[in-house]
């Protein structure tokens, strides 16, 4: 790779890459995002590479390793361009047939296609309901790019926004464009990006710094991981453009070390960008110079908070600082510092290329553009979803997500991570944007969307978040340290059937004080899980406290497993699965659970075939006395 020393050279390089490509040549795009890798994607890739070699098709077929395609539930995913044939759950055993039939003969392998609800097979990726209702401005590029090959990104028009910014626009004009676009921070707080840039630009003091916050610590959210792993150059390009607008010469990417593939791909991408003259001194032959270093986070949720992250970058413990002055004015080493989240930076090249007007044409009045959600939990089509701001929860969960599996009822959706809230079915028609979510008692956060069905206990869910936050709290300020500890104690009591009248009010009181008085956002937003669950699911709290009953049958201390004698087919399946040896019975003999031995692991319920449905959960009352031994005989039907 040689250095590009002008915008014209970048253009020529791109034309050169494109001219060497035949748009009609089949190209296998194999998803090797972490999700598909976990399902054996690497083996599928190797099988394809081997089979293509074996059949001597190397010259006729391209094969591309890519980042996450989004539809993680059905991985490993393979898309065959140019026809965009989408195969799901591909195994190495399928590979010879796909090569022989699809690549050589152009025919479709039906069984690997998506099957719609009407039983019809869907060939093209874009026609699958999961993809059809999305607008994948950022994520869509993943399947077209091998993250370790910069030419793939440039072929898509990558770095042309940088060239435009550097040679056609002044830094002020870039800033103005981002301001006009209405882009707001995708990390959670939703602060207007352009305004933040402007504050840093105008702040006195040199040098200035720009930072990518890629410390995605939210349990249940992984969109940043996918963008970093799948299309690192989009983030880097956005960062360089931002640095140009702000006047920074040095940038940092703070990325979790729990994301090793993201670290690896970013490292390669930065090296390539440097080699090609897109980073370093005189970028693309301009006057502007800028470089980026990677800093691996060592695993602490609170270090994603901006002041904490800056402290960690300085090599100290990543604890939040009291910041009367914003990092934009006095951040890293006391210098003006602009920090944005991965997704925010990734939006910048598109805004510069397609204009602020185009970007602000998408979304709602107060929230522009698209947002990536990680749609997970009890939902049929889990994965990463990118929709225009203002799409309703119903559209995301039901049209794209395909609703709740197993015929269960939708109960709640948790948005915004541990700092967010749980919204009930009545909120399903809420258009999702920053303001609407906040009004409903939740928040956008980084975009986690966790769907819960009737089997989820909302008290236990709130306890889960409080437990998480109390473990992750740095303990520096009293409201957060003590508040979380006390809330956790109350929650543990309620879930153990030791809840008392007044607990709900006490939880609310503590939450409100924390929201008012904590040092950083971890503490102030910790109020959301208790307050939102109390607001929408108060009856579940009351059932736990007053009736010692867990309506969803989750809280172990409040449930019992019971085998209904009339339904038991004496098949021994549950007895064999019981790790505690608590189930007695034999072939032809109705089974009984010894409550004193039962550890309530639920293995028996899972083992009992649904057509029998003999194992049940009982809550709020004791299990019926076992059938007397002499009358337990029963024949299998």
């Amino acid at each position: 790779m040689s250095k590009l020393s002008s915008a014209a050279e970048l253009k020529r390089f791109r034309q050169d890459v494109l001219s060497r490509r035949d748009p009609n040549k089949p190209c296998l795009s194999i998803c090797l995002g972490t999700g598909c890798q976990a399902c054996g994607g690497e083996k599928v890739y190797q099988a394809f590479a081997g089979e293509i070699r074996k059949q001597g098709l190397e010259a006729k077929v391209d094969i591309r390793r890519t980042g996450c395609h989004g539809f993680c539930e059905r991985g490993p995913l393979v898309v065959i361009f140019p026809r965009e044939i989408c195969y799901l759950k591909v195994t190495p055993a399928d590979v010879p047939e796909v090569v022989a039939k699809t690549l050589v003969e152009g025919k479709i392998v039906d069984r690997l296609l998506y099957t719609g609800e009407d039983g019809k097979k869907i060939v093209h990726e874009g026609d699958i309901p999961f993809y059809k209702h999305q607008s994948r401005i950022i994520l869509g590029a993943n399947r077209l790019v091998d993250p370790t090959r910069i030419e793939d990104y440039i072929a898509l028009g990558g770095y042309s926004a940088l060239a435009r910014a550097l040679f056609v626009m002044t830094p002020e004009e870039v800033l103005d464009e981002v301001k006009k676009s209405g882009l707001r921070g995708r990390g959670g707080a939703g602060f207007p990006t352009g305004v933040k840039w402007e504050t840093t630009r105008n702040a006195p003091g040199e040098p200035k710094y720009v930072i990518v916050n890629a410390d995605e610590g939210d349990p249940g959210a992984y969109m940043n991981r996918s963008v970093l792993e799948g299309n690192p150059h989009s983030v880097i390009e956005g960062l360089i453009i931002g640095a140009y607008a702000i006047g920074a010469r040095q940038g940092f990417i703070y990325v979790r070390q729990e994301y090793p593939l993201a670290v690896a791909n970013l490292t390669v991408a930065l090296e390539q960008a440097r080699e090609m003259g897109l980073l370093g001194a005189n970028i693309l032959g301009s006057e502007f110079g800028f470089d980026v270093a990677i800093h691996r986070g060592a695993g602490a949720f609170v270090s994603g908070e901006s002041s904490a992250l800056i402290t960690a970058l300085e090599g100290r413990v990543g604890e939040p600082q009291i910041n009367y002055i914003r990092p934009a004015i006095s951040g890293l080493w006391g210098k003006p510092t602009n920090m944005n989240n991965v997704e925010t930076w990734a939006n910048v090249p598109a805004i510069i290329n397609k204009s602020a007007a185009w970007f602000s044409g998408i979304g709602t009045r107060g929230s522009k553009g698209t947002k990536i959600f990680s749609l997970v939990g009890k939902v049929n089509n889990t994965g990463l979803v990118e929709v225009p701001m203002g799409a309703t929860l119903r559209q995301v969960i039901f049209d794209i997500g395909g609703g709740v599996p197993g015929g269960k009822k939708f109960k709640a959706v948790q948005t915004g991570g541990p700092s967010g809230g749980c919204l009930p079915a009545a909120s399903l028609d809420l258009p999702v944007d920053f303001e609407e979510l906040e009004r409903a008692g939740s928040m956008m956060g980084s975009g986690g969307m966790i769907v819960m069905d009737e089997d989820t206990c909302m008290v236990d869910t709130a306890r889960y978040f409080i437990n998480f936050l109390s473990e992750e709290s740095c303990g520096k300020c009293v409201p957060c340290r003590e508040g979380l500890k006390q809330m956790l104690l109350i929650y543990n009591n309620i879930c153990a059937g030791k809840g008392r009248e007044g607990d709900i009010e006490l939880l609310r009181e503590i939450a409100e004080v924390m929201a008012e008085a904590s040092l950083c956002a971890l503490g102030t937003t910790a109020a959301n899980p208790p307050l939102s669950t109390i607001k929408y699911f108060r009856n579940e709290y009351e059932a736990h406290i007053r009736e010692k009953r867990c309506p969803a049958g989750v809280c172990k201390d409040l449930i019992r497993y019971y085998i209904v004698p009339e339904k038991c087919q004496a098949c021994l399946l549950c007895a064999k699965s019981c790790p505690a040896g608590a189930i007695s019975g034999d072939k032809g003999l109705v089974h009984v659970i010894d409550q004193s031995k039962c550890t309530k692991c639920g293995a028996c319920l899972e083992a009992c075939p649904s057509r029998f449905g003999a194992v049940t959960k009982i809550s709020g009352k004791p299990a019926p006395a076992p059938v007397p031994a002499g009358t337990r005989v029963q024949k299998r039907k």
């Binding site: 399902c39 691996r296 994965g383 869910t461």
Partner: protein
């Protein structure tokens, strides 16, 4: 020990003795060694001119670090929200019973360490477990037994 300190030196040289690279240095030592031995930390303190207390503060604050040796095989069970609603607790119980150790512990032979993690970032596959860098989606008790048996 001399060999170990030479390794630490190599890591320190990579970061050109920059104080602010302290966390990166510790991460590298942790990755190379599996834990942070005290002599290594004393050596880092001397070479970087950072108080040992500050190094311990960092080593105990972040999850990635361990001040005791870990097992040869690390089982990490994800307790992220998405895994949680899909039964991560049950998975943790199962792994714990197969390995015969509680979360956060290492067995006497230093063969297995069982830890929990707040999110592995593959939420669509929950509940998820990571063993020696390999992800497993929804492993049942039989799968866990097989995985444990394949560890030497």
């Amino acid at each position: 020990m001399v060999q170990e300190l030479a390794d630490v030196d190599r890591i320190l040289d990579k970061y050109q003795g920059r104080k602010n690279a302290l966390i990166q240095v510790l991460l590298d030592i942790q990755a190379q060694n599996g834990w942070l031995p005290k002599p290594a930390l004393i050596w880092v303190a001397e070479r970087l001119g950072v108080p040992l207390s500050q190094i311990y503060q960092i080593a105990t604050f972040y999850k990635a670090f361990s001040l005791v040796p870990l097992g040869r095989h690390i089982f990490q069970v994800c307790l992220g929200t998405a895994c949680q609603v899909r039964g991560a607790k049950r998975l943790l119980d199962n792994v714990s019973s197969v390995l015969g150790i509680e979360p956060g512990h290492t067995d006497a032979d230093q063969k297995f360490t069982l830890t929990t993690v707040n999110c592995l970032g593959c939420c669509a596959l929950g509940p998820v477990m990571l063993v020696d860098g390999q992800y497993y989606s929804k492993p049942g008790i039989k799968d866990i037994e097989k995985i444990a048996a394949s560890c030497d």
